[in-house]
């Protein structure tokens, strides 16, 4: 019964979305006032019902109900519980339902909390959000029903792809989804404000926490995904410029541009049309990403199973939403564009340049991602890889960092360029110090890592500048947020630069007792032993890494073998062993058993010393923390919640 109930809830939720949309439209066209009061509760109910449906799907996975096709295809009764639950969204249908749940929940949250917008703008926003969900309801119910029953239940399921059996991956997609779909709120706000022509500081202030919110999750999702790929795939890389990575980076770039431009709109009532445009682009890029991943247009090491029919459906949805929003923008933008004036040398000016750079990087990444599709249509097979992206994104990102140094030190409206220099001596000194140290002691360092680490030095010092001479206790949270996020960029940049400049690598076929030197470590290979996991068998290697200081650490890389279930082939995975030190990480991968030239049994062993590599993810986390502080300082959810309760109590006493 659970599956049928879940499906019924989805249909009711879809009907409610339909109701919100129609009521909203009729109200906005001058219909009865009462209709407006319908939209809020309908949005809340839609969010609750979709969440309940998702909960029921989780329950089906937890109970291993193999009569449900999705469970049979993606789960197995032997799996550890946590991965049964994660299996709910580790597939197309389940992840679509998750997407829809977040979309509906966002609508419900706007309906509950948003008090800054005019009523008609709020209704327009909620209707836009309902229109978005409606399309995805149609997609789910007509082409990807997660609750579909099998005519005959198999004795057990096929199981989840073993590489996906990882705690990092279990929580990585939901995090990214919250980010992707969070941008839908900005999109709906933009559409709502375009419809009622209410674009100004109030609109920007209402939208800003949502932008920050989704951007935090995008940042965390990308950071976690990068770390997952790093330790799980066993190839030691942290960014691959794979299409699936790119489509998460593209909305992140749009979000980064948007949260800076929305700041200008909120504080200075300028850049209004541009902010609206970016809000439309942000969610459009989320959809383009989803489309690329699910349509099978591009091959990627990550992409989902391919189904052309679903691709067509998504393409149609995208055309309607993006086309519709852009048309509305074209019609209305003229009447909202005029904002407050500012000089180029000003905080606004620096943010405009920041936005130009971010959108340019976005465009270039998008170009590289889509180019193979276009080339193939023209009969040429091309794949665009890291050399392209590094060449185009690297230099622009470094310039962007320099703008980031200057921006926070500039005054709003108009500033003097000479005064800017007088605020920067420490930062310039830090950069020069890093550069000289690298040239003197760094050996042969590539130009991009060299510049990266130098700029990181400048940014690290300059990002702290807004705190100088301030009472730290009275410094507002958003300022702290900006400082921490910008400092995080410096930390990540330093990590990237150091890792690519100073990485040490050893690839050997070792027999027990062999000692391998990598970086400053002596690593002794002690041998292997078989171990058993809950649903796999494995060979576990034992390595003892000795540091120059004399400390020794045991590392246990594994090579796991998952048996094939229900006729699928057995799968092998590598579990790298990581030794984290203050100066970096030692990374060990156990490969195949081989017979050496001397006839002795050996194991392939790959060892990397990666200096400062974990700074990359620490930087990502700092960026997210900074954004979270800004949001806490701005959203005042608590304040809103209290105000709401106060209003309610007032009503009760009257």
């Amino acid at each position: 019964m659970i599956a049928e109930l879940g499906l019924a809830l989805l249909w009711i939720a879809a009907a409610l979305a339909c109701l919100s949309l129609v009521a909203g439209i009729v109200f906005l066209r001058g219909g009865p006032k009462d209709l407006a009061s319908l939209v809020r509760p309908a949005s809340v109910a839609q969010g609750v019902l979709t969440t309940a449906a998702f909960g029921l799907l989780i329950a089906l996975f937890v109970r291993s109900d193999m009569s449900v096709e999705l469970v049979a295809r993606n789960s197995n009764s032997l799996k550890p519980m946590i991965f049964k639950i994660a299996g709910t969204w580790g597939n197309h249908e389940g992840s679509m339902l998750l997407w829809l749940m977040i979309l509906s929940l966002s609508g419900a949250l706007i309906a509950i909390f948003e008090r800054r917008l005019r009523e008609d703008t709020l209704v327009a926003t909620l209707s836009a959000q309902a229109a978005l969900s409606l399309g995805f309801f149609a997609f789910l119910l007509f082409s990807s029903n997660p609750f579909n029953r099998l005519p005959v239940a198999p004795p057990d399921g096929q199981g989840l792809n073993p590489l996906l059996q990882d705690i990092g991956l279990a929580f990585h997609p939901p995090t990214l989804y919250v980010g992707y779909v969070g941008l839908s709120v900005a999109f709906s706000f933009a559409v709502g404000a375009l419809i009622t022509r209410e674009i100004g500081p109030a609109f920007a202030r209402a939208m800003r926490p949502w932008v920050l919110f989704s951007w935090i999750f995008l940042t965390l999702g990308i950071t976690a995904g990068s770390y997952w790929a790093y330790y799980e795939l066993g190839w030691g890389g942290w960014w691959f410029w794979d299409p699936v990575e790119n489509v998460s980076l593209i909305p992140w770039l749009a979000g980064a541009a948007l949260l800076h431009s929305v700041a200008v709109t909120a504080t200075r009532n300028a850049l209004r049309a541009w902010t609206v445009m970016l809000a439309v682009i942000g969610f459009s890029m989320s959809m383009v990403g989803t489309f690329i991943v699910r349509s099978g247009l591009l091959t990627s090491v990550h992409s989902f199973a391919v189904d052309p029919e679903r691709g067509t459906f998504l393409l149609a949805l995208m055309a309607i939403y993006i086309g519709g929003a852009l048309t509305l923008f074209a019609v209305r933008a003229g009447s909202v564009a005029e904002g407050k004036k500012f000089a180029l040398m000003s905080r606004e000016g620096s943010l405009v340049i920041n936005n130009l750079l971010l959108t340019t990087i976005l465009a270039l990444v998008l170009l590289g991602t889509l180019y193979p599709i276009v080339a193939e249509a023209l009969g040429e097979k091309i794949s665009v890889g890291p050399p392209y992206y590094n060449k185009v994104a690297g230099p622009l990102a470094l310039i962007l960092c320099l703008v980031m140094v200057a921006g926070p030190l500039l005054r709003w409206r108009k500033d003097d360029g000479k005064k800017l220099w007088s605020r920067l001596p420490m930062a310039v000194f830090a950069g020069a110090a890093v550069l000289f140290a690298l040239i003197l002691f760094g050996g042969k360092v590539g130009i991009l890592p060299l510049l990266g680490m130098t700029v990181a030095g400048v940014v690290a010092v300059a990002s702290l500048a807004p705190l100088w001479g301030r009472n730290l206790r009275r410094t507002p949270l958003p300022t702290w947020g900006m400082v921490i996020a910008h400092f995080g960029v410096a930390v990540a940049l330093a990590g990237m630069g150091a890792e690519s400049a100073f990485i040490k690598e050893k690839l050997v076929a070792a027999k027990p007792g062999d000692v391998v030197k990598v970086g400053d470590f002596d690593v002794q290979f002690e041998g292997v032993k078989p171990v058993a996991g809950p649903n796999y068998t494995a060979i576990e290697g034992t390595l003892v890494a000795t540091t120059p200081g004399g400390g020794s650490h045991v590392m246990k890389p594994e090579s796991r073998m998952f048996p094939g279930l229900m006729g699928t082939a057995p799968t092998e995975t590598n579990e790298a062993a990581l030794l984290t030190r203050p100066g970096g990480q030692l990374y060990a991968v156990l490969g195949q058993p081989v017979v050496g030239a001397d006839g002795a049994g050996r194991y392939q062993l790959r060892l990397w010393w990666k200096p400062l590599v974990w700074w990359i993810w620490l930087g990502g986390a700092l960026i997210a923390i900074g954004a979270a502080l800004s949001m806490l300082g701005r959203a005042q959810l608590l304040t809103l919640w209290r105000a709401r309760r106060a209003r309610k109590e007032e009503g009760r006493w009257k």
């Binding site: 792809n161 590489l163 996906l164 795939l233 066993g234 190839w235 099978g296 247009l297 091959t299 090491v301 990550h302 992409s303 989902f304 199973a305 391919v306 004036k341 500012f342 000089a343 180029l344 000016g349 405009v352 130009l356 750079l357 340019t360 465009a363 270039l364 170009l367 590289g368 180019y371 193979p372 193939e376 097979k381 091309i382 794949s383 665009v384 890889g385 050399p387 392209y388 060449k391 185009v392 622009l396 690839l507 050997v508 076929a509 699928t568 082939a569 799968t571 092998e572 995975t573 590598n574 991968v589 490969g591 195949q592 081989v594 017979v595 050496g596 030239a597 050996r602 392939q604 790959r606």
Partner: protein
Amino acid sequence: MKAKHQRLILALVAVVGIAGAGVLGASALRDEAAYFRTPAEVKVGKAQVGEPMRLGGMVAAGSIVRQPDGLTIRFVATDGKASVPVEFKGIVPDLFAEESGMVADGRMRADGTFVADRILAKHDERYMPPQMGEMPEGVAKMAPKV
């Protein structure tokens, strides 16, 4: 008048920026876009020696041979029409196996061997580059040995 100037400068900066980015992107694409080749294309001479490229194909059945150093493997990549010997030094990724698809980054050596810097297999066992979509099922089994 002043404001107009500002706007003009800003617009000019934007135009120059976008044009610059366009030129940068186009030139980088021309220089760096790795060409995806199938073994059949390699055989008709579409891949130049030393040019960075990506080779996609199936690993021919029974073709994986380990070298005495224990680290280098040789195998044959095939698309059913032609075959290219591939050499790779390192640990092959998970899911790399005979009779399944793979993509290798690297370059052709003058002796006709493809030297891979990196081999990619996929998370998903259903993975197959779309460029290889025309290949019939079971191609790896019937592929000619080199």
